[in-house]
Amino acid sequence: MLDKLRRWLFRLGRDEQLPIVLTQRRIFILPTAAGMTYAAVLGVMLIGAINYNLSLGHALVFLLAGLGLVTMVHTFRNLAGLAIMPGRAAPVFAGETARFPLHLANSRRDRRCALTFRFAGNATAAVSVPAEGTTQVAIPYATERRGRLEPGRITLEARYPLGFFRAWSYPHPVLHCLVYPKPEPRPLPPPTPIADPGLARGTGGQEDFAGLRLRQPADSPRHIAWKAVARNVEAYPLLVKHFAGGAGEELWLDWERTAGEGDAEIRLSVLTGWVLAADAAQIAYGLVLPGQSILPDCGTAHRDACLEALALYGHETDAPEAGR
């Protein structure tokens, strides 16, 4: 019941429409402890002014009371009309801090000062948006588990100008970030012989030179036949050296090989460590997980595909990790 009230009052729920513009219905405002203190001080001052019949004292108290009221409007105004566009968050490894970028646009002629953004339970990011300008803020989220992270609603807060009031809003754009398993450093497993040579044909081996072919985007730049290219640039823009299966071995990072490591999360971590190690060594590698496998290859796109598979392993694609 209370939760329902909160939902209605604070209009909780995702924002599907972009950009998110903070309208008055979305901004909430309450006095802060400093504001309460200010009111109490004014009360005491008023009593003093009455007691000593200080006419200027009355004037001062009334001016300051007016200042308090005006501040309320200005605190609200600091948020009202701000336009928020979510950006794309770069994937991180579990345990690292994900940063969700927001583009903030201020169409007003005054600067919006000291806006703080945070996800519940996380550190804040503060930013000011220049007059008639845009800026970016990256909101940190300390990740713990792998998966597709949805950080949930943002608490946007500001106490500018005088700190007497706190205005806040709960923008909830659709945000997500891929969290890879935390890598466990382990030595790479030995390559395995190719059981069926036909299986490895398309991917190419590492050892025996088998001729030249036109470069495809997935080819490692190390295999470009620079000499051949230099000989006849006009005819063949880029040629790569094509290798046959080498010694008949290829590197398979196989789920089964991590059986001795412990539970599933640790095994995924070990696999992640292997992927990173193989990528760093620029060795072509394949990944085998229960129910899926990725053929050996190398390059950033391949690595990211492998990491994504590891991050999402066991998660149904539509049930990502809920935001805390």
């Binding site: 203190t37 019949n53 200080l54 009371a65 009221l69 005006v70 336009a83 000062c113």
Partner: protein, 657 residues
Amino acid sequence: MRRTRPKPAVEPLERACVPWLLACAVATGAPHVEHLPLWLSALAAATVGLRAWLWFRERPLPPRWQLALLVVAATIGIYFQYRTLFGRDAGVALLVLFMALKPLEMHGRRDAVVLVMLGFFLLLTHYFYSQSIPTGLWLVTAATLETATLIRIFGGHQPLPSIVRYAGLLLLQAAPFMLVLFLLFPRITGPLWGLPQDAYGGTSGLPDTIAPGTISNLVPNGSIAFRVRFEGAPPDNTNLYWRGPVMDEFDGQRWRPAQLGRLDPATIEARGGTVTYETTMEPHNQRWLLALDAPQAIPEQAFVSARLQAVAFEPVRLRSRYTFASSLDYRAGLSESRALLNASLHLPSQGNPRARALAASWKVRHADAQGIVAEALQMFSREQFTYTLQPPLLGDDPVDAFLFETKQGFCEHYASAFVFLMRAAGVPARVVAGYQGGELNPVDGYLVVRQSDAHAWAEIWRDGYGWQRVDPTAATAPSRIERGIASALPESEALPVMARLKLDWLRQLSYRWDAVNNTWNQWVLGYNPERQREVLSRLGLEDIDWRGMTALLAVLCAAALLGITLWTLSQRPRLDPVQRAWSRFCARAARLGVRRHPWEGPLDYANRIAALRPELGEIAATAATAYAEARYGGQGNNAVERLRAATRKLPYQWRPA
């Protein structure tokens, strides 16, 4: 003991905020130096200076226990200075002490907020001592500074002018609320409870005893005693005798009022029309109200005493307004009580033998009082009496010494000697202190009576005539009564500057300044329940009570708040900044003869400009690239700036080469 703050939740205070806070401490504390003990001012200056130095050298703040020791020591010092910690002055001293020490204990944002609040409070305490216009202006300045400090604390770095401008804007918007609250907040005349002993220190006014020097000491004091506004033309200067304390007991040196027990009010019989006037008294912490002789109608909070004074029930501790009607031609005390007449004949049994002898000779020569009075006044005008502020000292027989030896004196000498002679000759007489004359300010029509107009004169009682005023000073220095103090004293004597102004424009200026001050006093400082009623009835709200006022107040404040809110929300988001900047560029370029076609992209447009007006080619290319980058390149902030800069570089008018 040297430990860091325990709570990690403390919001840190930016280093750059510290100078702001120190400025607040100085702005709110410094004006108090005037009435604080020197050691406390020095201590406060030293701690603020120390804090500034620590800030400059980026040193850590002193540990808490050292500060605690300092606070305890200084509090003890204040206790010994004022013998209390709870009076008004001691309270102010404590506040200043805290204000000066707080910067040394300023770790987080919360400490800074506490300091600013303390500053607001300290601002109020200035009005214990002065509520003049300069103090009021200082209020505005200091409040702006404190607001700016809060903006700096909560808003992070911004250029100084924009912070100050924003603080000014906030206060400007607060002003309507101040006005509404000031006018409509139901006023109560304080105090709500007993005030400390020292609440009304430092007021000057007529003394309650008269001896040589008591009045003349007041004369160099140019401060205002009261202001009067007459209904109709003000009476002649020679009629402006403002009656203060009346003295009828003489001990050989001093005159003071006799303790006679309960006396009936004086009977006054008016013999002409009355003059009605409103007096605005500066507080003098005494009960006499200084009405013109003789008061006919007096305000509710006063009565007419047996000695013809208008006396308030309570000492005048605030600037207050009283309305009187006086009859300048009157008979008073025709059937005066025996007790008072006896008191008005009493003399000490010994002393001043020559004066007694002289009076005895007059008594023999004249049967009635009138002859004796004439004799005395003739003596004052005939012989070489001098009117001076600096008479020589008189000995044990002051009347003899004055009358027969020095012959120099101020009004109290004349009045006192005259009354002595009268009594010695058997005529009931008494000394009256008060003010005489005043200066009409042509700017606002108020008659201003200053302390320098203080005067003492005499009254004698004659059967069938009652009490009659005799001013022996008039016999010696008639211009004192006709044209004021400045004309009666030699040039060399010390007088307030204003009393002697010869420069016409300066005098005009002083009249104007005084009129402004008077308006301030009447309408701002003197805004009390009565004035509030007066103002509201002038606004058409005759019978409004405090409930009505509160309701109206709430409505008006809500309206003002709504106005400001609407102003806020009416600032519709305009075109986005990039688009605006680009439109501005296009408009400027169009004025130079190349109008952008609606279908034309930025780069094409730039190329066309370059083709038609080669000298603008470079600027146009920069602008178009910047626009394209800002529009399509994501991180557009810097690009917008470049676009604006390029726009600024365009010439305003096309000058054919």
